[in-house]
Symmetry: C2
Subunit: 578 residues, 2 copies
């Protein structure tokens, strides 16, 4: 942890923090707090938890990340994807609404936090690279649909649970006769209003003469307006008596967590989910951080980000809440409200704390359906069909990986979907590298350049064959080269020298080394000598430690040109005369 060694990352901006900055950040935080309240509560409901835990999860984690993270813009708190995975992991283990469910959510945040900190300390951040772009894309689109469908129950005022589309739909149909009419009417109105605000409010405000920035920010306040309207409405008409589910009494005590009743099996069952939350949350968060940092030419350090997000999750667990990460919409709210430094995150947290202490009675009559509706309207934007089409035109295989991830997440489950997606990505990559481009090359007349004999008019030398392999040599393709070379000498019986041109080989592993030794031995016993040319520095460093070089009967040439000159020496004069 280099950065920690130099003190908190926050020191970088805290040192030059001025009173003027404080005023700007303060104003921004005040606005952001108002906008983030319904969002945070909505994501808590999405996770299957009481709404007020969304506020809990927006306080301590935000402060911790502001001090430990390397992004100056990123806002950390409850986020749609991590909340959805939370629900998907805990649902099979506990009843939503039970104390056990809340305990497991807290535990999940804690374990995810520990995973992230461990990945940071062990520099294992590269594991997150396993999530290829097609897998993430398929996962997010399918999750968005799952989230939206999962929220429908709140819009209808019924109970329904399930880990995939089939389970969810079946459970909803089973409870179809329990639909609550007042809830349904409120939901329909709210969805209509939200879509209207989203699509037209900003335009209308602009035509009214407001600046583009103010108009955008105000249009984001749409949900807040809806929250106020519906809360008043429910309170005046006592709709909670008619079966409309409301946020209700908010407990200010930390939830009582009883880990003594926790079984080892449960912990094991949580581990894959916790890992998924860590990895998916981290990847999403870092992309958001990078996209905001680039504009300001700031430097995001992935390893420190792992640490910061890990600490934020542990902080969330300690405050009795659920997994958090850096979110795109939170960050947009933050920056468009005018936040300049991570101090805004700290101040937003403090405002949120004040809300929690003094203003919770205001949320008593807020209907859950409104929170659910705002999630649905926001989340469906994440379904990205264009991305599939784009990838399909670029690579059919990768489009297949995307589609497989999408459908498995939708119809089987999130964890299985991710595993299938990663496996397919790896498989296609291995397929690609195990079908490397191998070419026999010859010299472009009059130059020192060597090109594919099948594509260019080039000179070759009798009895000498030069093979160029355009791929790393490792276990996935080691035997391919072996097959190619041995097949070549079986077909061309007059070959005396084979030169392996390694200009595109960036690594050689033990399997490839083994194959090269086998090739060398077998060529020897067939009376053919194996040579190498243009081996890269780092590859040569590795080969020097091997018996391949000491047992090699042929030579190692710095350049392919030198190889051909040396090997064709006896007939070189004749060739130069051509």
């Amino acid at each position: 942890m280099k950065i920690l060694g130099r003190g908190l990352p926050a020191m970088a901006w805290l040192r030059q923090y001025s009173r003027k900055d404080l005023a700007t950040d303060g104003m921004a935080s005040f606005i952001a707090t108002i906008l983030l309240i319904p969002q945070s509560m909505g994501y808590a409901i999405l996770a299957g938890l009481p709404a007020y835990l969304g506020l809990y999860a927006s306080i301590l984690p935000s402060i911790v990340y502001s001090l430990l993270g390397t992004s100056r813009s990123l806002a950390v708190g409850p986020v749609a994807i991590t909340s959805m995975v939370t629900a998907s992991v805990i649902l099979p283990l506990a009843m939503p609404g039970s104390d056990a469910y809340v305990s497991l959510a807290i535990l999940l945040a804690f374990v995810s936090g520990v995973f992230l900190v461990l990945m940071s300390l062990l520099k294992m951040g590269f594991l997150t690279n396993l999530l290829s772009h097609p897998v993430i894309s398929g996962f997010i689109s399918a999750s968005a649909i799952l989230i939206a469908v999962g929220q429908l129950k709140h819009l209808l005022g019924i109970q329904a649970h399930g880990n995939n589309l089939i389970e969810l739909t079946q459970d909803m149909l089973r409870h179809a006769d329990e639909i609550n009419l007042p809830t349904f009417i409120i939901s329909s109105l709210v969805v209509g209003l939200l879509v209207f605000f989203k699509k037209y409010l900003s335009k209308i405000l602009k035509t009214l003469g407001l600046s583009s920035e103010t108009a955008n920010l105000l249009s984001k306040a749409g949900p807040v307006l809806v929250v106020v309207l519906t809360t008043v409405c429910v309170a005046l008409l006592s709709l909670d008596q008619q079966g409309v589910k409301i946020v209700g009494q908010i407990h200010l005590a930390l939830p009582s967590i009883d880990f003594t009743s926790l079984e080892t099996d449960t912990l094991w069952a949580l581990l894959p989910g916790a890992f998924l939350i860590s990895v998916v949350g981290f990847v999403g968060s870092v992309s958001v951080a990078q996209s905001f940092a680039a504009k300001r030419k700031e430097d995001i350090q992935p390893n420190q980000e792992l640490f910061g997000l890990g600490a934020a999750n542990i902080a969330s667990a300690l405050s009795g809440a659920f997994p958090v990460t850096g979110g795109f919409s939170r960050t947009v709210v933050n920056t468009s409200a005018g936040a300049k430094t991570p101090m805004a995150g700290i101040l937003t947290a403090l405002f949120m704390l004040l809300v929690l202490f003094f203003l919770t009675p205001l949320f008593y009559y807020l209907p859950n359906a409104v929170l659910a509706a705002s999630i649905i309207v926001a989340i469906l934007q994440l379904v990205d069909v264009k991305d599939f089409i784009r990838i399909y035109h670029f690579s059919k295989q990768e489009a297949l990986a995307l589609a497989a991830t999408f459908f498995v997440v939708l119809f089987v489950g999130m964890e299985t979907g991710i595993i299938v997606g990663i496996s397919l990505s790896l498989l296609f990559f291995l397929w690609h590298t195990s079908h490397p481009h191998i070419a026999v090359v010859g010299r472009v007349p009059g130059t020192e350049h060597f090109r594919n004999v099948q594509r260019y008019q080039v000179e070759t030398t009798p009895n000498i064959v030069t093979i160029r392999i355009d791929e790393n040599l490792f276990f996935a393709n080691a035997r391919v080269l072996e097959d190619y070379v041995l097949s070549l000498i079986a077909q061309q019986k007059d070959v005396k020298h084979i030169v392996l041109m390694c200009s595109a080989v960036n690594m050689i592993d033990a399997s490839a080394l083994d194959s090269l030794e086998t090739i060398s031995d077998r060529l020897n016993s067939a009376g053919v000598t194996l040579h190498f040319s243009e081996i890269k520095g780092p590859v040569m460093d590795k080969l020097r430690q091997s018996t391949l070089i000491t047992n090699l009967t042929g030579q190692i040439f710095l350049t392919q040109h030198q190889a051909i000159q040396a090997l064709s020496h006896p007939i070189e004069a004749q060739h130069q005369g051509e």
Copy 2:
């Protein structure tokens, strides 16, 4: 199946097959049959099956492979590793000695055969490349130890089963009081004799004036001599009455297989094991085939090999026997006996059939302990400590993959071991490629060559940074480049142009494309232009289908030299004057 389209692979040698060849192959097959009888019966016992099934497995599969395979030397039949995996797969599902056990072995051969044929038809042979050299090495060493320990029970005359070293040892200790003294005495003598023959017989025969080749072949007859001696001994002393287990009556009917009682669960339980047998058997077989083919400059076609071995396994199932593959010791016996063509495999099979019909009474008193002892003596040679040391010096990571495979196979089980090994290999490879060598390069003065600025005295141009990445660009490292470039412009605020030199990039996938677009966008918003140079043909073909190129504000240069010339144009004169 190109080759099948042109007729049987066997047509290549059958067309020019002469009467003289038949005489040579006939003599060789006669010798080979005698030598292969104890070996084949031993491997049947190793698989937990009646000894005579080893003879069954040596007939039809050998004929089928001779007609369909591409190797002229490879001998196909029961082999140590596949027999061991067979036992390890079936033991949890049925009692050794039961009819169900035999049925499952037959089914396993059939399913493995189908897997191999499918892999051939779908050209999925590259899947076998997943087995990296360290994983195979660790697997074979550990399996050899497991096999040897598993055979100990026959030497002691007790019952003991288990899938790993711990289970085996515990079960042997549990039955330690049942050790059969006559069996133990025979075993000790036999092991002593076999080791003596192995180490000294060949030398002694050579000092007696025999040619090196004859001496080696005769020393291979050591086990046959031991078989004869002990069989006579047991018969004369009626040691089978004293508890010495013997081969006994050999049934000539095909085993009655009852697949109707087979449950779907059982079939599912067999699948991973069948896949393991296919892959491990194929990899081992192809290496043996390649090593014998190279000497004769013959061409082994892996895809046709998959088909040939698959058909051989299906043939084995049809003859009521267990999984087979091409084996090293079988092939050595075959070629050193003087076999010239695959006809030897067919003739050996026919001799084996004659033995089965007319000579089985001779094996009645053959003790199982002798077969087990010859397996132990042969198999322990496969434990390869030197290979570990060699790999350790080449790569600590790969040595770790070998060690992990070794210990997990030994202490947990063969399938888990292979999975752990493959996962570690993939992980280390991904770790490697996700830490690519990235260098800022500059021009070697007076040349068109560009080298790492940290290693060479090179010229750089103000405001232009050229970055060379020495790795394929794909999901495992896409974000690494993103982090590198964005970090670079965060640190060097005066950069106006970034040139990405792609001379070592052999592939770009959708994730990398996404990262490149992100880099391009973010550089744009930071006022920096992104350019590319030296993109390879196949990579450029792919990029043309993407929006990266159409949205690129910078240029694509054929060579790095052109890039620097074009971008530094205003100050080029000054530079050339230096």
